[in-house]
Amino acid sequence: MQKNKVLVLYAHPSQHRSEVNQPLFQAACQIDGVTAVDLYGKYPTFNINIVKEQQQLLDHNVIIFLFPLFWYSTPAILKEWQDLVLEYGFAYGEGADALTDKVFLCALSAGGKEEAYQSNGYLHFPIKELLRPLEQMAATSGMKCLAPFVLFGSRTAVEENRLQKHISQWQQLLNALVQGNIDIPAAQQVDKLNDYLDSPGGNL
C-alpha cells in the first residue's frame, strides 16, 4: 500500500553536463507514487504558474528539492519557485495551513568533500547549517524538515564508483517515503539522511 505521494522538484540548469542529479531524477521518475518535475524544463523562461504549482503541492505529502548546490544554496529557479508559490495566505500567514504536516527534504550534490563542510574544515559550516534557510522555510510553512540527503565530492563520484551506491540509497529513500516507513524524528536528528539510511534502523 502506498501511504504517501512524493513530489520531487528537480532543478538543474545544464542537464546535458549533469553526472549525478540527472541519473537521480531519472531514477525518481521510475518509482510509483513519486511525481518528478523538471522545473527548468517546465518553466524555461521562469514563467512559473502559481496556481498549478500550489495545486501540485496540495496533491502531495512529501516535498523534495533535488539540486546541485550552487553557492551554498539552490539554483535560481528553486528560489524563484519559493518566492512565487509559497505565498502569504497559502504557505504562511493568517489561517494558512496548506503545507502543514507535510514532510520536506533536500537531496543535493556538493562539489566539496565531506571533511571540508565542517566547522574546522575549509568551508567552515556543516551542510545542515548551510541549508538553514530552507529548513526555516519548511518550519514557517508547518512542514517537517528531514536532514539533507547529500552526495559530497560530486565531481569525482562517477570516477570513484560512488554514484551507483548513492542512486540505490536514493531509490531506497524514495520507496521508504512512499510507504511511510521513515522514522521522522530520527531522520530529522541525523546530520545527513545517508547516515540514517546506513544505520540498522534505516536500512529497511
Binding site: T45, N47, N49, I50, D83, L84, E87, Y88, G93, E94
Partner: protein, 636 residues
C-alpha cells in the same frame, strides 16, 4: 489514331492490373510488368508485331534511369568507388565472358560465336536490379552498392562491345547477307561520324563528351533559372525532358551510347540546386518507360520455340544463372564483401539483362550469330530476367532473415544519428530556423521555389534545393521518410495548409512545425495537423509593445512580466477559441460564440495585465506580492 489509343489502353490496363497484384504477392513490380506482357502478348494475343518497335522506344527508360543514377552520384562519390568499379565490375565482365565462352566452345561453337555469347551473358539487368533495390529499400546497403558498381561498369562496357562485335562477323553469314543487301535498300542510320577517319572520329567523340560536361556545368544553371523564373511547372518538365533527350540524340549521332551520355550529364548535375526538381520531373517518365520495356520483353517471348525446346532452354537459363552467380560469389570473396551483402551481390546480378537484347539484335544485324541461335538466346535472356524476382525473394525470405538475426545478436546499442530536418521555404523565416538548426549541428535540407533565394543560401554554404515542396516526389527525394521534423515556412497561406495536410497524412510520425500568418491561418494549420504553430507577427509585435511600455517609463522587469502575463492568457484562451472556431464548420468561422470568446479574452488580458482597477487581486500583481502590512503581529 484509334489503333494507338487501343494499344496504349491495352498496355496500361495490363500494367494497372498486373503490377499491384504482383506487388501484393511480394513479387515486385518488374515481375508484374513481365507477366502483364506475357498475358497480353503470347497468351491472349492482344498485341503482336509492334512490340519490337515499342521496345526500342521503351529502351529510352533505361537511358532516363541512368540519368537519374548519375544525378544521385556526385563525381566525388564516383571517384571514391573507382576501385570497385574497375576491379569488381571489370573482373565480373571479364571472368563471366571467359567462362561462358569456354563452355560454349566445349559445345563445339566457333570461338567468335562463343565470345559473343560470353559478352551477351556477362551483362546483367540494370533496369530490374536498380528498380528492385529501390522498391525494397536496399539501395544504400553494402551489397547493393557493390552491385551498383558492377552494373555501372557493364553499362559503360556495352559501348566498346558494340564496337567490337562487328569484327567477329562470320564470313558465310556475311556473304549470305551481302547478296540480300544488294537487292534490298539498305537503311543507313543518321550519323555524324559515318565515313570519318579514326582521328576525326575520336575528336568528335571527345568534343561531344566535353560539350555535355561543360555545358551541363555552366549552361544548365542559367537555363534552369530562366525557365524556373517563368513560373510554369510544365515548362520545367519540358526542359528536363529536352535535356535528357537532347543528350541522348547527340550521343546517338556520334555513335556513343545514349545511356552513357545521360549518365554523364546526371553526374555533372548532381551538385546542382535543381537536382531534386530534375529527379522528380524525370522519375515518372522513367518508371513508365521501364514498365513498358518489361511488358515488351514479356510480350516478345516466342512460346513456340520455348515449348519445342523447353528442356534445352531452361537448362541453358539455369546454367547461365549458376555460372554468373558462381563468378559473383567468388569475386565477392576476393573483394571481402561479407555476410548478407555477399549473397545480395551474388543473387541480384545472376540474370542476363536488357543490354543482352541490344547486343543480340546487333549481333544478328552484324552477321555474328545465326538467326535461330539468336532466337534461343533471346529466350534464355528473357527467362533469366523472369527468374530474377525469384532470386530476390530467396534473398528476402531465406538469406536476409538469417543474417539479420546474427546482426541483432551482435550489436545492441546503435548510436542514433541526428535526424534531418526539412525546411520548406527559405525566406526570412526559414533562414533563421535554418541558421538555428545548423548552428546546433543539425543536418537540414532546404527547399524553395525561388531561385534567387536558393542561390543566396548556397553562397553561404547551405544545402538548398530548388523545387516546389508540395510535390510528393520532391519530398521523397529530399528524404522525408528519414526526417525527424518538417518545417513549413513557405510564403503562401493556401500552399502551407495544403502541405501540412499532405505531410501529416502521409508521414504521421514526423513533427510538423509551421509558421502561421495570423490567428485564422494558425487554426487552419492546426486543423491540418501541424504539431507546433507560431504566428509570424505575434512575437515581434509583443516585443514592440514592450519597447512602447519602456518608452513610457515602466521598469523593464515589470514590462517583461506583463508580456509573460499576455502570453499566458493568450495560451489559455487560444484552445477555447480554436474549439469555437472548429465547432462552426460552415464557412463563416467567426460566429457569435467565437466573437464572444474573443471579447472574453480581451477582458482576461486587461485583467491579467492589471488594467482592471476594480480592486481585485490581478494575476500579475500576485507575483512577489509582499505580505500585508502588520501581518507580523498575527504570526506567533
Amino acid at each position: 489514331m484509334t489503333d494507338i489509343f487501343l494499344q496504349a489502353f491495352i498496355y496500361l490496363a495490363a500494367a494497372v492490373i498486373a503490377v499491384p497484384i504482383a506487388t501484393k504477392l511480394g513479387l515486385g513490380s518488374v515481375l508484374g510488368y513481365l507477366f502483364a506482357g506475357v498475358i497480353i502478348g503470347p497468351v491472349i494475343g492482344l498485341v503482336g508485331e509492334e512490340t519490337t518497335a515499342i521496345q526500342h522506344f521503351a529502351e529510352f527508360g533505361v537511358v532516363m534511369m541512368l540519368f537519374l543514377v548519375g544525378l544521385e552520384l556526385d563525381p566525388n562519390k564516383l571517384w571514391a568507388m573507382r576501385n570497385r568499379l574497375l576491379g569488381l565490375g571489370g573482373l565480373q565482365v571479364g571472368v563471366t565472358t571467359a567462362v561462358v565462352m569456354a563452355l560454349a566452345m566445349l559445345f563445339e561453337q566457333p570461338w567468335t560465336i562463343a565470345l559473343t555469347i560470353g559478352l551477351i551473358f556477362s551483362l546483367a539487368s540494370t533496369a530490374i536490379v536498380l528498380q528492385t533495390f529501390n522498391e525494397k529499400g536496399l539501395g544504400k546497403t553494402e551489397g547493393a552498392q557493390n552491385a551498383f558498381s558492377v552494373l555501372l561498369f557493364q553499362d559503360i562496357a556495352v559501348i566498346p562491345m558494340l564496337a567490337f562485335i562487328p569484327l567477329l562477323a562470320l564470313p558465310e553469314l556475311q556473304a549470305q547477307a551481302s547478296t540480300l543487301a544488294a537487292a534490298a535498300d539498305h537503311h543507313e542510320q543518321l550519323s555524324l561520324v559515318a565515313g570519318l577517319p579514326g582521328w576525326a572520329y575520336g575528336l568528335v567523340i571527345t568534343l561531344s563528351i566535353a560539350a555535355v560536361a561543360v555545358g551541363g556545368h555552366f549552361l544548365s544553371r542559367p537555363l534552369f533559372r530562366f525557365v524556373a523564373n517563368s513560373g510554369h511547372r510544365e515548362i520545367f518538365t519540358a526542359t528536363a525532358l529536352m535535356l535528357v533527350i537532347g543528350i541522348a540524340a547527340l550521343m546517338s549521332l556520334v555513335g556513343l551510347s545514349p545511356a552513357l551520355g545521360t549518365f554523364l550529364a546526371g553526374v555533372v548535375l548532381a551538385n546542382s540546386e535543381f537536382r531534386h526538381e530534375l529527379e522528380s520531373n524525370i522519375d515518372p517518365f522513367k518508371g513508365l518507360l521501364l514498365g513498358l520495356f518489361f511488358i515488351t520483353v514479356g510480350a516478345g517471348i516466342n512460346f513456340a520455340i520455348l515449348f519445342d525446346e523447353f528442356l534445352l532452354i531452361s537448362a541453358l537459363t539455369l546454367a547461365v544463372i549458376a555460372v554468373k552467380a558462381a563468378v559473383l560469389y567468388l569475386l565477392a570473396l576476393i573483394f571481402r564483401v561479407k555476410g548478407s551483402a555477399r549473397w545480395l551481390l551474388t543473387l541480384s546480378l545472376a540474370q542476363a539483362g536488357e543490354f543482352g537484347f541490344v547486343l543480340l539484335g546487333f549481333s544478328l544485324q552484324s552477321h555474328v550469330l545465326p538467326a535461330e541461335m539468336a532466337q534461343k538466346l533471346l529466350l534464355v535472356v528473357a527467362l533469366s530476367m523472369f527468374l530474377t524476382p525469384g532470386l530476390f525473394i530467396l534473398f528476402d525470405k531465406v538469406i536476409q532473415p538469417r543474417f539479420a538475426k546474427q546482426a541483432n545478436d551482435r550489436e545492441q546499442d546503435t548510436v542514433d544519428e541526428t535526424g534531418t530536418v526539412i525546411i520548406a521555404g527559405i525566406g526570412r523565416v526559414g533562414q533563421i530556423i535554418n541558421r538555428t538548426l545548423m548552428a546546433n549541428g543539425v543536418k537540414t535540407v532546404v527547399l524553395d521555389y525561388q531561385t534567387n533565394q536558393v542561390d543566396a543560401m548556397r553562397k553561404i554554404g547551405t544545402k538548398a534545393y530548388f523545387g516546389d515542396a508540395r510535390r510528393p516526389e520532391l519530398l521523397h527525394t529530399a528524404g522525408i521518410e528519414h526526417a525527424a521534423a518538417f518545417v513549413v515556412a513557405i510564403d503562401s497561406r493556401e500552399c502551407s495548409v495544403e502541405l501540412v495536410k499532405y505531410v501529416h497524412h502521409c508521414y504521421p510520425d514526423i513533427k510538423i512545425i509551421a509558421r502561421a500568418f495570423d490567428r485564422g491561418h494558425g487554426y487552419l494549420l492546426r486543423q491540418a495537423g501541424a504539431d507546433a504553430i507560431e504566428p509570424e507577427t505575434y512575437h515581434s509585435a509583443l516585443e514592440l509593445g514592450v519597447h512602447a511600455m519602456k518608452a513610457l517609463g515602466h521598469h523593464p522587469f515589470f514590462v517583461e512580466q506583463q508580456k509573460a502575463a499576455y502570453k499566458n492568457v493568450e495560451e489559455q484562451q487560444s484552445d477555447l477559441l480554436y474549439q469555437a472556431w472548429i465547432d462552426d464548420s460552415d464557412g463563416e468561422r467567426f460566429d457569435n460564440n467565437y466573437i464572444k470568446l474573443f471579447l472574453q479574452m480581451e477582458e482576461h488580458l486587461a485583467d491579467a495585465m492589471g488594467k482592471d482597477k476594480r480592486g481585485v487581486h490581478s494575476l500579475s500583481e500576485r507575483e512577489w506580492t509582499p505580505p500585508p502590512k502588520g501581518y507580523v503581529d498575527k504570526i506567533k
